[in-house]
Amino acid sequence: MALRQIRIGRVLAYVAALVLSAFILAPIYLITISAFSGFDAVYDYPKNLVPSDLTMESMNIFLDSEGVTDSLLRSVYVAAITIIVCLAIGTPAGYALARFTFRGANPFQLALVSTRAFPLIIIAIPLAVTYLRVGIDDTVLGVALAHVAFTLPLTVLVTASVFAGISYELEEAAMTLGCNRLSAFRRVALPLALPGVAASSIFVFVTSWNEVFAAALLTLRERTLPAQMLAALDTSPLPYRLAGGFFLLAPALVVIFFIRKYLLTTWGKVAR
């Protein structure tokens, strides 16, 4: 009887997992096959779930469209700058939060979380005005800085929890074995934190890559890919949009695919 219940429970768990996976994967699949289908197939209804002919037709149209390759490159730059700045500031800040007890550590953490509560709409106008005054409107750097502002607080919190999970005794052991604070961090804490840091940089990348509001607001000519697509959305054909959707989707998936072993495992097992 009990065995049967366990079996039923297991079946239900698998069904739930399948449903969840389908919920995520179905749109991804549809966008992908549409992006690589011919023009006619895109407009087919009902959809053919197994693509009959794979072509680069839509893709080529999308990539040849005006401004697309430039904005694609810009998106890469913006994401790269965002990740570098986030890690350069966020990792030490997270380390400090995890390792040192200092006055105001808790309010600081609260303040970090509360930045997520601000609706972007409210700060949009002041932000644009400030950018105009400083003179970084319509620049790759400007967009990247805005993205840093969105992602840095969570980077700090995530890396703080990653470092908090690494025993300080490991660094102390390194110090008794000839390291100073910095080299103990570099040789022991940092390698152990790498999976967590990688995870948070994926988050930063995906956020920056897909972010459209600030990018559209702060740029006119120097648009990133989402901003470019937003601008062209109502004037472009469906294949263009699907190909663009694929381009927004694919890099994140590829990055996660290659980095996933760092997400799940470290050196044979979970870092402890």
């Binding site: 110090m175 008794t176 050196w267 402890r272």
Partner: protein
């Protein structure tokens, strides 16, 4: 040469005085155990020596150098942590080689030392593994091998055996002692386990509330505790303490307990003017089954046979005592026995301060026979 000297070392955490004025001299190549209950400051003192904590006052000398303000890496120490702190992202080989590489030793030297250290700890076959693939006992061996690989002057051990299961701890204790005897390092060893302290140390520093309350060789500390804390902390069972009064009439003195009185031989002059506690070890009490002169009556509460001896819990007047008796004697519960409190084995304490009072006529156990090769 690596003597260690603490001079009036103090360390506080907020209002808590973890180490409260410690003076301690450790000789070159000596093995000193810091023993005390948790929170007594022993680990903090060790960390002050390692340079992992900054002292709030006093000086720390290692060898002939004032190490008070030196960072850990300049103190020529090595440390074994309670959690072992084996680096999870490195193989055992690289763990042991870590300190040597930091010292920029040449590759063949590193290799030779890693292999010889691993050999001493019998972990040669584990060099290619990660720490997650090791058992607790193996990790402990890696931590020790890593510490001895650099041939540091001073070896610090912070409860290295406390995370092992009982059987392994027993095995490792003897092995570690033998290993440390073969090295030239001065060793400071922190433990809360009095058996470990008694069995391993050349000298034991018993700590309580941030202070060293007694420093001496294991037998001294066991047999002649400086105060009621040491007597109660060291030994299993702890020393018995009974409230007592000593009265002198004519030439003889009589000790009066709540359960009876008996005549004292030996001097009692030093006891005058103190509220007294009579301290006596469980094995220093003789047990008779019939009344006689100088014996005190007691009632058996419970008998615990322990194989090598039987442990008896008895009530004597208002006091409860632990008595160890020979393994073939089985007094029934609620039966009466008669206790012989050997005057020379009694350790008198001041009831108010807890400090030992010496009468000058105690018999102390001594290490008489030392066999040298």
């Amino acid at each position: 040469m690596s003597e260690i000297r603490f001079e009036a070392v103090r360390k506080s955490f907020g209002k808590f005085h973890a180490v409260d004025g410690v003076d301690l001299d450790v000789k070159d190549r000596e093995f000193v155990v810091l023993l005390g209950p948790s929170g007594c400051g022993k680990t903090t003192l060790l960390r002050c020596l390692a340079g992992l904590e900054r002292v709030d006052g006093g000086r720390v000398y290692i060898g002939d150098r004032d190490a008070t303000d030196l960072p850990p890496r300049r103190r020529r120490i090595a440390m074994v942590f309670q959690s072992y702190a084996v680096f999870p992202h490195m193989k055992v080989y690289d763990n042991i080689a870590f300190g040597l590489r930091m010292q920029k030793e040449r590759k063949p030297v590193v290799d030779e030392r890693v292999r010889s250290s691993a050999g001493l700890l019998h972990i040669e076959e584990l060099l290619d593994r990660y720490s997650s693939q090791l058992s607790g006992g193996q990790r402990q061996r890696v931590a020790v091998a890593r510490a001895i690989a650099t041939k540091a002057d001073v070896l610090l051990m912070d409860e290295p055996l406390s995370n092992l299961d009982a059987l392994l701890r027993l095995e490792m204790r003897a092995e570690l002692k033998a290993l440390l005897q073969s090295l030239d390092a001065t060793t400071i060893y922190v433990t809360h386990d009095q058996i470990e302290a008694l069995s391993m140390g050349d000298r034991i520093a018993v700590m309580n509330q941030g202070r060293i309350v007694q420093l001496g060789n294991p037998l001294e500390v066991y047999d002649n505790p400086a105060d009621t804390f040491v007597g109660g902390f060291i030994g299993n069972p702890p020393m018995n303490f009974l409230e007592a009064e000593v009265s002198v009439n004519g030439g003889s003195s009589v000790a009066k307990l709540s359960g009876g009185s008996f005549e004292l031989t030996g001097g009692t002059a030093a006891l005058a003017g103190h509220n007294l506690l009579l301290g006596i070890r469980a094995e220093a009490i003789g047990v008779e089954t019939a009344p006689a002169d100088g014996l005190v009556r007691a009632t058996v509460i419970v008998l615990e046979p322990l194989g090598s001896h039987n442990l008896l819990t008895v009530r004597c007047g208002e006091d409860i005592l632990k008595v160890s008796i020979q393994p073939d004697l089985f007094p029934l519960a609620e039966s009466d026995v008669w206790l012989r409190l050997e005057p020379a084995r009694i350790r008198w304490m001041d009831r108010d301060t807890g400090v030992a009072i010496h009468t000058g006529t105690e018999e102390f156990a001594t290490q008489t026979a030392v066999i040298t090769s």
